[in-house]
């Protein structure tokens, strides 16, 4: 273990790295690559490949990494030289990615996510031998803890010497559960919403199904037109759900969440195996998402956000996601992710005035859509235009649902906030992680005596918010976010709790 760790001088990546660099360049410059291939001249292809490999070999030769006191040091660049130093205590997450080819060749990509909004400090070691990647990863993670505790070289060395702690599995998803995650996921749901109205198109364009039937031999498909359309729609939905399940299996096959010492470990992937490691002390926010469909099935998903950059080229960066889990398990897993945060307490609903605000807001948001639909229907057939007004009661229902889903609570250094209409999002913020906070109120909110609390957390994720609380409560919560304990607050009596506060209890 120790012998494999790159504790010595600067090191280079794996000898095969130039090939992977070259493949990356080809992928980025694919129009050029296509152009070269289109010439169908072998010498040209060979020449380009040789030049590319020469360049990437030079890049590989110049790119080194080394561990120095308290930091990971990277040097790279052929013409313009670049030196990057990543202090251990800035490391948020370390990912080990193994694409199918990597697995054959026994190598891996090591990715280090650091705190900060920009993508500049991110480190991609592409590729290193698997053993070295694993050793380097455990070294980085241990060293980070050492740096956080003592900050001295001795501590780093001692931490690095310590054996890798035993793993304890928190959650394993079966293939069936992973497929369910894909089927009930937002991507699949979005298509269902699109396909639903599309299946009604045959009413608007009677000739469409005739045209379809003319193309696809009516006798073979179905005897009657509407049945054929329904069959096609059902088939399309099934194919889509199959694709959603399959893509979910590809990314999340064998999903395992475990703790190893002070780290959270996620393993997943069918072809491209990923191992993502985040220190337990690092989560800034944990979000529990429940879409309508998942709520009906008793399922939820969880997103864990660290202080790294969000999204970028890879939307899995600096965040771990549990694609699906039974609601009864949410509190157990939450307790492991944020010790002390579980179970989620009963949430307090905002004052009743907020109901009117939620409904008005929903109706106002639906107004442009209603107008557009009315115009469209007017153009199609005049008497149909008022049908668009049916959106208004829908918007009212949406507003009522939005109000029902609003709620907040605080307990033992955690702030809980919930909002959402179709997807109910419960956000759990460790108050000690909040960067800053603000209380905001629009003119309409002030007239109703309401305000919204924003809790600014590190990293690029959406700001957790407590929407439409009373001004007094919002200001009180701001004091909590600032870490000023306002003493024991009087219980907010006479207000009903939001429904569905705690899971599985």
């Amino acid at each position: 273990m120790r012998s494999d760790a790159p504790a010595g001088g600067p090191r280079r990546l794996h000898v095969l790295s130039p090939v992977f660099f070259a493949a990356g360049h080809v992928r980025r410059l694919w129009p050029l690559a296509l152009l070269v291939l289109a010439r169908r001249q072998l010498w040209l292809v060979v020449a380009v490949a040789v030049v590319l490999l020469a360049v990437t070999t030079l890049e590989w030769y110049r790119r080194t990494y080394a561990l120095e006191a308290g930091a990971l040091r990277l040097e790279e660049g052929v013409l313009a030289r670049k030196l990057r130093v990543v202090p251990f205590d800035r490391i948020q997450q370390v990912d080990l990615v193994r694409k199918p080819l990597h697995r054959v060749l026994g190598v891996a990509t090591l990715r280090v996510e650091t705190a900060g909004g920009g993508g500049a400090a991110e480190v991609d070691l592409d590729v290193v031998p698997l053993g070295e990647a694993q050793a380097l990863r455990s070294l980085l993670l241990r060293a980070k803890e050492g740096a956080a505790v003592a900050g001295g070289d001795a501590a780093v060395a001692a931490a690095a010497e310590a054996a890798a702690p035993a793993e304890r599995a928190l959650l394993r998803l079966s293939v069936g559960e992973v497929m369910l995650a894909g089927i009930t996921g937002t991507r699949a749901a979005a298509v269902l919403i699109v396909l639903g109205p599309l299946s009604q198109l045959s009413d608007l364009f009677p000739s469409l199904s005739d045209w379809l039937l003319g193309r696809f031999n009516p006798e073979a498909v179905a005897p009657t037109t509407p049945a054929a359309v329904v069959a096609v729609a059902v088939l399309a939905v099934l194919v889509w759900l199959g694709l959603a399940a399959a893509s979910s299996v590809v990314t999340d096959y064998g999903f395992t969440l475990a703790t190893a010492g002070a780290d959270l470990v996620v393993r997943r992937g069918l072809l491209e195996r990923r191992e993502e490691v985040m220190a337990i002390a690092r989560p800034q926010v944990v979000r529990v998402d429940e879409s309508l469909l998942r709520r009906a099935l008793g399922l939820a998903s969880i997103r864990i956000q660290s202080a790294g950059r969000s999204g970028g080229a890879d939307d899995t960066a600096s965040r771990l996601t549990i694609p699906v889990l039974p609601r009864a398990e949410v509190n157990r897993v939450l307790g492991e992710l944020l010790p002390g945060a579980a179970p989620v307490p009963r949430l307090l609903a905002p004052p009743p005035v907020a109901r009117g605000r939620a409904v008005r807001r929903s109706v106002l948001r639906a107004a442009p859509l209603t107008a557009a639909l009315a115009v469209a229907l007017w153009v199609l057939s005049r008497p149909a235009a008022p049908v668009a007004l049916l959106l208004v009661p829908l918007a009212v229902l949406g507003g009522l649902a939005a109000y029902r889903n609003l709620g907040h609570a605080r307990r033992d250094g955690f702030l809980y906030a919930r909002q959402g209409v179709a997807i109910r999002v419960t956000t759990v913020v460790p108050v000690a992680k909040a960067q800053s906070g603000s209380v905001r109120s629009s003119l309409f909110q002030r007239r109703a005596g309401l305000a919204t609390l924003h809790v600014d957390v590190a990293g690029g994720s959406a700001t957790p918010r407590v929407v439409d609380e009373s001004e007094g409560t919002a200001e009180e919560l701001l004091q909590v976010v600032l870490g000023r304990s306002p003493g024991v607050l009087p219980p907010t009596s006479g207000r009903r709790g939001a429904p569905g506060g705690a899971w599985g209890r």
Binding site: Q435, S436, R440, S441, L443, A458, L482, R484
Partner: protein, 166 residues
């Protein structure tokens, strides 16, 4: 609103010269808008269509409305702006229609920028932008006398101390 600030440190208002900055900025914006409207108006007329009213009416209306805004809004904004270098946090209160009360604990501060736009430089003002590890933090104090900005920056940083701010 909390009343915990008595004695410790009073809420401060912005430097009055910020009124000049905001008025000039709004006026420039209004002039640009009016010029665009005028150009579209003239263009349409040259193209042979006939927008309602005499030439230049739309631009004049925009300039008039914008003029009223440039005259009234800065003083309203100014009246609503307060900031306070409290014991443990920087607190800002501002906004006309949308009120904002934001608070940034000092120990979260990563760095502070002192910047000056051209108009601000002319009247001798600076703008303080406080950054934390969160992109959501909204902490810009406009209208600080250029001579005081450095002192305020040092004061906040001194209170920020050192430590892991993430």
């Amino acid at each position: 609103m909390t009343e915990r600030t008595e004695g410790a440190s009073a809420a401060r208002t912005l430097d009055r010269r910020i009124l000049v900055v905001w008025t000039v900025q709004t006026a420039v914006l209004v002039l640009v808008l009016a010029a665009i409207v005028l150009a579209v108006d003239v263009g349409l007329r040259l193209a042979g269509t006939h927008p309602p009213g005499p030439p230049g009416l739309a631009a004049a209306l925009v300039a008039l409305a914008g003029g009223v805004a440039a005259w009234r809004l800065p003083s309203l904004e100014y009246r609503n702006w307060r900031y306070e270098v409290a014991e443990d946090a920087l607190e800002l209160r501002h906004g006309i229609l949308r009120r904002v009360h934001s608070a940034i604990p000092y120990f979260r501060v990563q760095h502070i920028d002192v910047t000056q736009g051209p108009v601000e430089r002319m009247v001798g003002l600076s703008r303080l932008v406080v950054h934390t590890a969160s992109a959501g933090t909204d902490a810009t104090i406009p209208g600080i006398a250029a001579g005081d900005a450095e002192g305020l920056r040092r004061l906040i940083l001194a209170r920020a101390g050192t430590g892991d701010a993430v």
